[in-house]
């Protein structure tokens, strides 16, 4: 199960001589400060460094070009995500190297079912998100500003060091929304690659094409939450739009990076048979039938507490519809022990990877292929 990387772990980093670090102050005024690796940061002055992907406008405003929200931000104000701030015409990120959640999770928890089964991923997040899902499971970090969340100063090299100590061969930017800490993701992916680790990202896919294309070559796998196949849902339930997410999925699929998709089915909002069918058809025709799609179970939380958990029968119906449409790897999530958690060979029907919850009970793949019929199963197996 997941192992939280606690303050003692951070303290060990410091004691091990991970050294103090100075955040660059250039262009961001006098508010940057010296932080030590593992130092807690809460409520006080946040370190800042100049953000990527913005342009200066007239009157000291800036326009953020990182995600489709396209925020125009006046001096002293922040964008929708709450983590990028205009300081006198220079746009800064306030979350680089400020990890608010760090765990060594099974890769199945992301979930990645076709990426190094049974291994650990050093999983971390910084505060903030560029949308507001009313059903967010991690809203206590994603929907708050960085100064409202307890964080620890962990630059990329420190995260990689923690991964090694935890025995994790993967890193995963996850929990909140990695798009809004793009610079931290990029730099950690570079450090992870240099250390021989596989960097991965778990995202809502709400990102513009250029920033996405720039970071993709550094990544080994991406999981995208496709929250619905209806634009109306995106507007009403998450304050975003569908089309940019579909575009991002196409860009990811065209790159040399493994892609898995998660669809959280919410009773009455996005669980109709017609919507699931449309979604499955689009995935098959646009991305390919071998892209894994996970239908996961909703539990009431945050602003959506008036709906019941998704009935298992609804998930099973979605599974049948998607398989009938031709998707080869369809999974069910948040229903521990269900056969829909396991990987089956589309060729001969043999169970290849048997899972319960986030645990792998058996992995029968041989060199990434079915031992029964020899069919190659796509994924990142090594």
């Amino acid at each position: 199960m997941s192992q939280p990387v606690d303050r003692r772990g951070f303290a060990r980093l410091v004691a091990a001589g991970a050294a103090s670090a100075i955040l660059p102050a250039a262009g961001v005024g006098a508010r940057s400060r010296v932080l030590r690796v593992g130092e807690p940061v809460e409520g006080g002055e946040l370190p800042a460094r100049e953000a990527s992907w913005y342009r200066r406008l007239e009157e000291g405003r800036v326009e953020c070009e990182l995600c489709p929200q396209g925020c125009t931000v006046a001096d002293a104000e922040r964008g929708t995500c709450g983590v990028r701030e205009n300081r006198g015409g220079t746009y800064v990120t306030l979350v680089h190297s400020l990890a608010c959640s760090v765990h060594a999770d099974p890769v199945e928890k992301k979930p990645f079912f076709h990426v190094r089964p049974g291994e650990l991923a050093l999983s971390w997040a910084a505060a903030g998100c560029n949308v507001e899902c009313k059903f967010c499971q991690n809203w206590e970090i994603s929907q708050f500003r960085p100064e409202q969340v307890r964080a620890t100063y962990l630059p990329p090299e420190a995260l990689v060091d923690l991964a090694r100590r935890a025995g994790a061969r993967l890193t995963a930017a996850t929990y909140s929304e990695p798009v809004v800490f793009w610079e931290y993701v990029r730099d950690t992916a570079r450090a992870a690659r240099a250390a021989g680790l596989l960097p991965t990202v778990v995202s809502n896919g709400y990102i513009r094409e250029q920033p996405l294309k720039e970071v993709l070559p550094l990544l080994g796998a991406v999981k995208v939450d496709l929250k619905s196949f209806r634009d109306e849902f995106y507007r009403d339930q998450i304050r975003g739009r569908l089309e940019p997410v579909l575009k991002a999925l196409e860009v990811i699929r065209a790159a040399e990076v493994w892609l898995e998709i998660v669809v959280l089915l919410i009773p009455t909002l996005n669980d109709s048979e017609a919507e699931v069918r449309d979604l499955a058809r689009w995935v098959k025709t646009t991305l390919g039938r071998e892209v894994p799609v996970h239908f996961t179970r909703f539990h009431p939380t945050y602003r959506l507490t008036g709906l019941p958990p998704t009935p298992v029968a609804t998930l099973e119906r979605a599974w049948r519809v998607a398989r009938a449409e031709g998707l080869e790897y369809v999974y069910l999530g948040n229903v521990p022990g269900h056969p829909g958690e396991s990987t089956t060979c589309p060729g001969c029907g043999e169970v290849l990877i048997r899972r319960v919850g986030f645990q792998v009970l058996a992995n029968r793949l041989v060199d990434g292929a079915c031992p029964g019929c020899g069919r190659a199963i796509p994924g990142v197996w090594r």
Binding site: G43, G44, R61, A74, W139, Q143, F144, R239
Partner: protein, 325 residues
């Protein structure tokens, strides 16, 4: 457009009854009187050396606007109409603009003195902002205990779960949801790049955990939806605006070339009317400088009309009554 009424004319309106019909749903304070929908009391208060004001002048101006805003014969009586001695009174300051564009400590002190004079216990007055750091930057001293008025930031003390109000869903500061029984908005008069105006109503964005989510569509209807939440609307007794200096452009941050000496202190029991007044004086200065009005600049503060539509006050400029105290 609005017109200015004299104190005498206002007295004839018998406690605001003539316009009260326009304000359906406006919550009543404990005393149930003192509310004057549409009325904004305004007094001269000129900036002195370094933009500071004289304490005695601030006292006089504060007394005058409280009386004018409520129709009471004195400031002490005004406070007694709006608040009871058992109230815990939260005064939300807007200190985003730092020392140059925040309510002046000496003007806030004048309000505190008038509240105490009107029977509020000093220890039951809490001056607050989002963070203690912002208060300190604006020149306030943090005080969390003792017999006198408190002054501290919300500092991440939020409700554990969000509450819904129209289009917003937010965790409110426990200061407003639990601790305070009465609230006062103490803002400034400034332009806002997105909302159009930042005065008394938008000041309440500072008591929710996620204001950055509600900046689209010129903050409309979100500002109104924050203020109409029972945590605010059910407790809001007064809006005070430090207009000693104001900013007509480039807000919400301080911008020296857009600041002007307005020389006014304003107060109203009607939070919508207070913002209408701020809009009017900002537009007047913009026109004087050859700038387009806020509407012409594409950012009319539409949330003001929305707030009026939500029953929070008078949003019709023709019914704004500025009472020169």
């Amino acid at each position: 457009m609005s017109r200015r009424l004299t104190r005498r004319e206002l007295a004839a309106l018998a406690g605001g009854a003539a316009v009260a019909g326009a304000v359906g749903g406006t919550p009543s304070p404990a005393g149930g009187s003192g509310r004057r929908p549409g009325v904004v009391g305004v007094a001269a208060l000129a900036p002195g050396e370094g933009g500071r004001v004289d304490g005695a002048a601030a006292d006089r101006a504060m007394a005058a606007v409280l009386a004018a805003a409520t129709g009471a014969p004195s400031a002490a009586e005004a406070v007694r109409l709006l608040l009871s001695p058992s109230d815990v009174v939260g005064v939300k300051l807007n200190c985003l603009g730092g020392r140059n564009l925040s309510p002046r400590p000496e003007v806030v002190d004048a309000l505190v003195r008038r509240l105490v004079e009107g029977g509020v216990r000093p220890g039951s007055i809490i001056l607050f902002e989002r963070s203690s750091r912002e208060l300190e930057r604006a020149g306030f001293t943090i005080r969390r205990d003792g017999d006198g008025p408190r002054c501290y930031g919300i500092d991440n003390d939020w409700d554990r779960t969000p509450s819904e109000s129209g289009a917003i869903g937010s965790c409110f500061a426990r200061l407003v949801s639990e601790s305070c029984t009465a609230l006062i908005s103490f803002g400034v008069v400034k332009d806002h790049d997105l909302a159009g105006v930042s005065a008394g109503l938008k000041n309440w964005y500072g008591v929710i955990h996620n204001p950055n989510k509600y900046h689209d569509n010129h903050c409309d209807p979100y500002v109104a939806d924050v203020v109409r939440h029972p945590f605010i609307a059910g407790k809001l007794r007064l809006t005070v605006l430090d207009g000693v200096t104001a900013q007509c452009h480039g807000g919400p941050a301080y911008r020296p070339d857009a600041v002007f000496a307005l020389g006014r202190l304003a107060a109203s029991t009607d939070p919508v009317a207070a913002d209408l007044w701020a809009w009017r004086v900002i537009d007047a200065e913009r026109v004087r400088r050859g700038l387009p009005t806020l509407e012409g600049a594409g950012r009319p503060p539409a949330f003001i009309a929305t707030a009026a539509g939500r029953g929070l006050g008078v949003g019709d400029p023709g019914r704004l009554a500025e009472v020169e105290a």
